[in-house]
Symmetry: C2
């Protein structure tokens, strides 16, 4: 139970990151990387504002964590992200040797962890655990964003 | 036939990139992005030398192409890479809206296009064509590299 509260606390931080993305007109997704119970990096989606197809929240956070640790290996790190990772981000998690991913909104369109395919259970080399912990605010933020886009 | 020769010419350029990776002690993989019959960016694997888990050859080339075009969308671009893309790189190709990937060595360990899973045919949103054109030199380079690692 205490563990779930800790996870939700970090997902809340990822959610605050996602608001930064929203303010830039980006799909509101945020992520944080945690090591030894502390946030070592944060990221929000900046794909359009940076005109960089790689700049999903998770990629930004992973890259920042690598810089911080001065290592390509992010062993013993957990990635918290508001949205289920896409194939690129799930693949990046494996490449960085991140041990676990926790997310709070599923992505039926582009999700590659539980929705369309399950990259982490597909027999690829690097074992990654994952957990879905539902939270309402990040989901509502995304729904509102896409609703306003359609208008 | 002429098309195959053109593809091989670009794969040859990707191979030259892979030699740059080898000289840095990296897994020798190289990539180029081509638009309108011209190379607009090149990349080689620099994961260890840059201590960045994202710096596969394909990612470096995609990022560079984006900078060049000042756009996150790489429509009408072809990515040539010496090695079958991993999940991260295949995902990045989709995110960048690259229309086609051509590679010349399959990767039974981490490949995510034809070997372990087929991300491009998995029902994810963005349609990407792919083609495998066998070439000996890039394969031999990779084999020699891994043989020397095992020694």
């Amino acid at each position: 139970m205490e563990k779930i509260l800790e996870h939700k606390r970090f997902l809340e931080q990822a959610y605050l990151e996602s608001i930064k993305a929203l303010k830039k007109g980006e799909v509101p997704v945020g992520a944080v990387v945690v090591k030894d119970g502390k946030i070592i990096s944060k990221g929000h989606n900046q794909r359009i504002s940076k005109q960089n197809p790689l700049y999903h929240a998770e990629i930004v956070a992973i890259q920042e964590a690598s810089k911080k640790l001065n290592s390509w290996r992010l062993d013993d790190c957990i990635l918290y992200t508001t949205l289920e990772p896409c194939a690129m981000c799930a693949g990046a998690v494996m490449q960085a040797r991140i041990k676990k991913v926790i997310f709070c909104v599923t992505d039926t369109k582009g999700g590659a962890v539980v929705s369309n395919l399950n990259i982490f259970d597909s027999g690829l080399p690097f074992r990654v655990d994952y957990e879905f912990i539902q939270m309402d605010k990040p989901k509502e933020l995304l729904q509102e964003f896409f609703k306003s886009l359609r208008k």
